[in-house]
Amino acid sequence: CHSPASLAPRRIMPVRWSRYNPSYLEPEAKKESYQKPLEELTEEEREQMELKAVRPIKAAPPSLSSSVFSDPMISKFTNMMMKSGNKVLARSLMSQTLELIKRKQVEKYHKAPEKEKETIECNPYVIFHQALKNCQPIIGLSSITRGGKTYQVPVPLTDNRRRFLAMKWLITECREHKHRRTMMPEKLSQELLLAFNNEGPVIKRKHVLHKMAEANRAYAHFRWW
């Protein structure tokens, strides 16, 4: 069957809904779990191993990796930066960002006096994680309609939602509020370093959200969960 001639891209292997049979198990990527000797395993792990010998296993997705350098948060961030499925570009931008962070920090390290050298963090992964943690909002606002009027009610957020918001704010900030001709790694490294030190526009946006939640705390009783 052909898709309408001009616009729709034609797949090589056409796919409809694909869902694994529920008996398929998830693939295990971590090398440490295969290197444990038999005696160290607990009861449940032994049962799990026996189950794996009998049941079929799902195909590993391309984003699953067993390398020591793979980090789930960084993969998530790269996916969010990706546009139109260009994972190559997104990944190169991410690695350039991390390299830039490292360069800036090492430069700072060499220029700093002896006493301050220990306080400067050079590991870009640590900086990335800490910056994300600093950007995560603690409480969110949700619109609840009561008696025809919509109120902004302060609401606790799940972990996933907070991580998503932090990453989304960082990326939007870099894409929209910077000069047109700066490269993305440069903008991102700048934002991440500012967020690492609890400064910068993303942290300000988080504070604005907290202030609004604090102003609307009287409406917190409109929640029913």
């Binding site: 917190a220 409109f222 029913w224």
Partner: protein
């Protein structure tokens, strides 16, 4: 059934015809005097919002410390604990047992009653 048909001796007895004290019928039930197999639909009261005290404590701390997160770490941790606990409660709670206030919603009551109806006649 608008006016349920009781056997005639019931009507005669209730009206006092046998005691020479006829009076207008004392009871005029519009429907059958028997329990139905369902309960009226009642709008369930909304459960209260959880973790409000923790949230207000955290916000007071924020106001004092100019919305920095570092000095308020303890309050924030308590808020997260409370939220996690409430979430777990909600997950475990939705079964066919009583809710936290001791009520069953009318839909569940109707389901139970339908499984065990009132037996009106024996075959």
């Amino acid at each position: 059934m608008a006016a349920p048909a009781y056997p005639p001796w019931v009507t005669r007895w209730v009206s006092g015809q046998w005691r020479n004290k006829k009076r207008p019928p004392a009871l005029r039930p519009p429907r059958t005097l028997a329990l139905a197999d369902k309960v009226a639909n009642r709008r369930e009261q909304a459960t209260e919002a959880t973790c409000i005290t923790e949230m207000s404590v955290m916000m007071a701390c924020w106001k004092q410390n100019d919305f920095n997160d570092a000095p308020c770490a303890e309050e924030i941790r308590m808020f997260y604990d409370c939220v996690a606990k409430a979430e777990k409660e909600r997950k475990n709670q939705n079964e066919d047992t009583l809710s936290s206030r001791g009520n069953l919603p009318s839909s569940k009551v109707n389901k139970l009653l339908k499984r065990f109806p009132q037996i009106t006649r024996y075959v």
